[in-house]
């Protein structure tokens, strides 16, 4: 009987299934299945030549007890995520919010300018030249001519300088997806709300932001946050392009750059999978933290 009822509602809603099916089928095949099999693989040793061998929790135990590199890259990943995540999220929002005040022409032009690093992707070359370790690198040349330093600094092979540089470059190139999503949703906040707010005693743009704009775009802020978390915990291309892999004493390498190396150079796919499961757990925690913060907005 119950089964019949379910069948009936399914018949009534067949159009919903038609709308959902193309995405859902492909999503299941090309994302859910691979993620599950990768998670399962994290309990095996797999060198991509012979069959996977069951290892239980071996990969995870090895990670935390034997692998010093892992502990370093874990620390770097968290540090870089803390330094770039919240700042990147705020920057993507604040810039979109500021741009929203402008007329259509300036808005399109400026948002294009911010979007350029994400659009072109190949802009990293310029940073490599700027931070080049000899006296020809732009940063060194400027500091030398101002007399601030007397000898050129090896920026990219300097363990203390590399992290700030990576943070700067990451923030600079992060005005992509969440930035433009913020713009499209800011323009949707009902203007009558602002008028009503002014009557209700909102006195400046900060109050307006906190009481009207932010609560009005909560759903988009969650999107923006998840995308920012995903990229803040996965910085790796920038580091490798700037300073190579591995960086000096693994000073700036992250879990992602490490697991790429473990997978494609050392052929330990089981271990690489275990690394990406741990990375997932980190991002999951960060997302949870953000959601609990988001619930406080506008109070």
């Amino acid at each position: 009987m119950k089964f019949k009822n379910t069948l009936n509602t399914m018949k009534q809603n067949w159009e919903l299934y038609v709308l959902l099916a193309p995405f859902l089928l492909l999503f299941f095949l090309l994302t859910v299945l691979p993620v599950l099999s990768s998670a399962v693989l994290s309990f095996f040793n797999f060198d991509m030549v012979s069959l996977p061998k069951f290892a239980g929790l071996g990969n995870y135990i090895r990670m935390f007890t034997e692998d010093d590199i892992f502990l370093t890259v874990l620390k770097n990943t968290i540090v870089l995520a803390i330094l770039t995540g919240p700042a990147g999220f705020l920057l993507a929002f604040v810039l979109a919010w500021m741009i929203n005040e402008l007329g259509p022409f300036l808005r399109t032009l400026l948002s294009f300018m911010f979007y350029v690093p994400a659009l072109t992707g190949g802009g990293l070359l310029i940073w490599t030249i700027a931070f080049s370790g000899d006296s020809y690198g732009y940063v060194n040349a400027v500091l030398l001519s101002l007399g601030i330093i007397t000898a050129p600094i090896q920026w990219l092979s300097n363990a203390t300088a590399i992290i700030p540089i990576v943070v700067a470059v990451q923030l600079w190139s992060s005005m992509g997806v969440s930035f433009l999503a913020n713009i499209s949703s800011l323009q949707n906040v009902n203007p009558e709300l602002y008028e009503a707010g002014a009557v209700d005693g909102i006195r400046n743009r900060w109050q307006e932001l906190w009481y009207i704009t932010l609560p009005g775009m909560k759903s988009m802020l969650l999107f923006s946050a998840v995308m920012t978390i995903a990229s803040a915990f996965s910085i790796s291309g920038i580091i490798t392009q700037l300073a190579g892999y591995p960086t000096v004493n693994y000073a700036a390498d992250t879990i992602v750059s490490y697991l790429n190396d473990v997978g494609s150079v050392k052929y330990e796919m089981g271990y690489a999978s275990a690394l990406s499961v741990i990375l997932f757990a980190l991002m999951f925690g960060a997302r949870k933290l953000f959601v609990s913060l988001l619930n406080k907005v506008g109070e």
């Binding site: 919903l16 310029i126 600079w172 949707n188 759903s219 995308m227 990406s276």
Partner: protein
């Protein structure tokens, strides 16, 4: 009496919006910050364009001058046709593949994302919250370790070394559904759907005639992302036939060849940036217009 009072209030409030929430100093300060950040952001684009006009001897100067070309030349651009001519497969095939893959992939991705997001946002279908949570969390899983299982599935589907190897993987990208769903949650009132239902419209018709026009700003933004990604997509190990390759794949080999070709390489990368930039201005330019025509305020 009440009517007049309300009118007065309205006039009063508009004046207040101008006077109290926006100070002139604040406006100036905002614009200054924006401009600074903007100038900083366009450096790589300017650098690429400037470098593409440099003659060989200026390319070899180190450190390269950022914004100055002493003797600008078009030779980096003019050499491209002759490099292309030496290809075994006609250039038009690569160009066609690129355009085909990018357009079809983008259209299908946007359609599939919007329709799935509509169901997840506005229907009461069973398990929709679980499905949506899985979509969201899948964004947090690193793609690298998915390569092998994905490859096995592609070969099971028989799409290795066909144009589908570009298109099919792009369709179910979770970001699109996530973006569209959040947008519909925030800015498409449920009342619209109710009204359509009372008028007797089915889900598909409601989606197509009411929701689709409503979410145009978001569709345009998603189109832009998808176009950029598809245009520069270089598949890893799924395309082998020369006749199935796209522009980014072939052009990177055409202009490779050390320092002598670095000018041509830069000219190529400038040319390759043009289509995404055009799409950017078309989509963002029509944002404003679609906002006022959609009529979903309130």
């Amino acid at each position: 009496m009440a009517e007049i009072k309300r009118k007065k209030m309205k006039v009063h409030s508009q004046a207040q919006v101008k006077r109290y929430t926006r100070s002139r100093f604040g406006n100036f300060f905002f614009f200054f910050c924006l401009f600074l950040f903007g100038a900083f952001s366009v450096i790589p684009l300017v650098y690429s364009i400037v470098t593409s006009f440099k003659p060989l001897d200026e390319l070899l100067i180190f450190p390269p001058s950022l914004f100055i070309v002493k003797r600008p030349t078009l030779e980096n651009y003019l050499i491209l046709p002759s490099l292309i001519e030496s290809l075994e497969v006609p250039f038009s095939i690569y160009a066609f593949n690129s355009l085909f893959v990018t357009t079809v992939g983008t259209v299908l991705h946007v359609l599939a994302s919007a329709s799935a997001a509509f169901v997840l946002s506005k229907s009461k279908i069973k398990y929709k919250n679980i499905i949506f949570m899985v979509v969201q969390l899948s964004l947090l899983f690193n793609a690298y370790t998915l390569m092998i299982p994905r490859y096995l599935i592609y070969s099971g589907m028989g799409i290795i070394d066909t144009l589908w190897a570009y298109i099919l993987p792009a369709i179910p990208s979770s970001m699109g559904v996530f973006l569209m769903k959040q947008y519909m949650d925030g800015y498409v009132p449920d009342a619209l759907i109710e009204a359509a239902k009372i008028d007797g419209a089915g889900w598909i018709r409601t989606f197509w005639t009411i929701i689709f026009p409503c979410v145009k700003p978001c569709l345009l933004t998603l189109t832009l992302f998808s176009f950029r990604d598809m245009w520069s997509l270089v598949p890893q190990g799924t395309i082998f036939s020369e006749t199935l390759k796209t522009l980014p794949m072939v052009m990177s080999t055409v202009v490779s060849g050390g320092l002598a070709r670095s000018g041509a390489a830069m000219a190529n990368s400038v040319l390759m940036m043009i289509p995404p930039i055009i799409v950017y201005f078309i989509s963002q330019g029509s944002l404003k217009e679609s906002m006022s025509s959609a009529g979903i305020k309130g």
